[in-house]
């Protein structure tokens, strides 16, 4: 084993944090993991920007301009980039909106839906601007590895990570590979 710990960052773009939850499902193996890795930006550390890392794991697809900035930062800083979960890999459930016109989406949310004052579409630059369609991350940056599942099970994640960290080509057992 190398003396230096492997530096790992994770984030969720257009996802539901389900993959992150599943990550926690590796349970007590987390203790083994922290022997091997140290965390950079993740929801666990609350670091806001990704620094130079060995591995970046991205959950969720790309649905707005902000996602692109985060994703590009990850790509720039991570030697190996992993797409985790259905959303990062093919847009997933957020991409259900790809069949709906963006105008209709906005109208539905800001005009027809009750509770929002004025019924006007906000134009605040703070709000991430949405794309016409939701895309998987590999259509925006180069992705090195994919770990499908919605979410992938804790076992699949553990298997994947141990392979990866040991320098092996990650390979899942039949029952660990699923798209749902």
């Amino acid at each position: 084993m190398s003396e230096r710990k492997i530096r790992l960052a994770t984030c969720s773009l257009a996802g539901c944090f389900g993959c992150h939850m599943s990550f926690l499902d590796i349970d007590e193996r987390l203790f083994d993991l922290v022997e091997l890795v140290e965390f950079d930006r993740t929801p666990l550390t609350d670091i806001k920007h990704c620094g130079p890392c060995d591995v970046g794991i991205v959950e969720g697809g790309v649905c707005n301009a902000e996602n692109v900035h985060v994703l590009k930062e990850f790509r720039k800083n991570c030697k190996v980039l992993v797409a985790i979960g259905a959303c990062a890999i093919n847009g997933g459930l957020p991409s259900l909106r790809n069949n709906i016109d963006l105008w209709d989406c906005f109208q539905e949310v800001y005009q027809y839906e009750g509770g929002l004052e004025g019924g006007v579409v906000p134009n605040d630059p703070e709000l991430p601007l949405p794309f016409d369609k939701v895309h998987p991350i590999y259509e925006v940056v180069k992705v090195d590895f994919f770990l499908p599942g919605c979410p992938p099970s804790g076992d699949a994640i553990w298997r994947f990570l141990t392979d990866l960290l040991a320098g092996r080509e990650p390979k899942l057992d039949y029952e660990q590979l699923h798209f749902d």
Binding site: A83, A86, I89, N90, G91, G92, L93, S95, L96, N98, N99, K133, H135, P136, Y138, E139, V143, F145, F146, L147, P148, C150, Y174, E175, L177, H178, F179, D180
Partner: protein
């Protein structure tokens, strides 16, 4: 003495009139396939069943077995190419497995698992396709259609109805139904029709039956499509 072909070096007997696929399935040899269903006339459109015969690629589901054929099937190159075709089918439609009732029982998904598909690889088309829920018992979600035409064949050949057909061409191909309104509810499709049972994907589903089998007990949760389709898995 019966005639034989060889598939990956294994001698496989066949009868006159059988295709390579027929012979393989009878012998328990798995050749990946999606548009083929032994109950219906071979179609030859998905091309997943492509094998190499004497150096040339052919679709095994339509190619007659001929004495002495040397067939290559389970090779790295062919499986890589089959994987690419499977990925094409995924990006061409809208396959959101987590939201699909067929998930776990879907042949497209199962073939993808068998071939080790980790991502759809190609850029998505995200086509606009119609979902037709007009029929009281059956739902048609064109987002998941792979144009295997099994429903077309089943409706025509088994049900004697011609409820389904193909229109358009190229990437603009589409599955159409036999009614002036274009709605499934206005056709004479019955939930008991063979056409409703044969869809390898989640494009044709029976209403009110979704998610009845829990995750973990679905067809392909523990058995590969190879095991299932060559009789190595449990029967449905």
């Amino acid at each position: 003495m019966s005639k034989t072909i060889s598939i990956d070096g294994q001698s496989v007997p066949f009868e006159e009139g059988q295709t390579i696929m027929d012979a393989a399935l009878a012998a328990g040899v798995y050749i990946p396939h999606l548009c083929h269903n032994p109950e219906f006339t071979p179609h030859g459109s998905c091309k997943l069943c492509t094998v190499k015969v004497n150096g040339r690629n052919v679709a095994s589901c339509t190619m007659p077995a001929v004495e002495g054929q040397e067939v290559l099937n389970d090779t790295e190159e062919l499986n890589a190419d089959r994987l690419a075709l499977t990925q094409m089918l995924f990006v061409e439609g809208n396959h959101l497995c987590p939201a699909c009732e067929k998930s776990g029982n879907c042949q497209l998904q199962a073939v993808a698992y068998y071939l080790g598909m980790m991502s759809p690889h190609y850029n998505h088309f995200y086509p606009q396709r119609e979902v037709d829920a007009s029929h009281p018992d059956v739902i048609l979600d064109r987002n998941r259609c792979i144009y295997c035409e099994l429903c077309v064949r089943a409706s025509r050949d088994a049900d004697g109805k011609c409820v389904f057909g193909m229109s358009g061409r190229g990437i603009g191909s589409s599955l159409v139904v036999n009614s002036a309104s274009g709605r499934l509810g206005d056709t004479n499709l019955a939930v008991t029709d063979k056409a409703v049972q044969v869809c390898p994907t989640g494009a044709i589903l029976i209403k009110g039956k979704g998610f009845t089998v829990p995750i973990g007990r679905r067809i392909f949760d523990h058995y590969t499509i190879k095991q299932i389709q060559t009789g190595g898995g449990p029967h449905e």
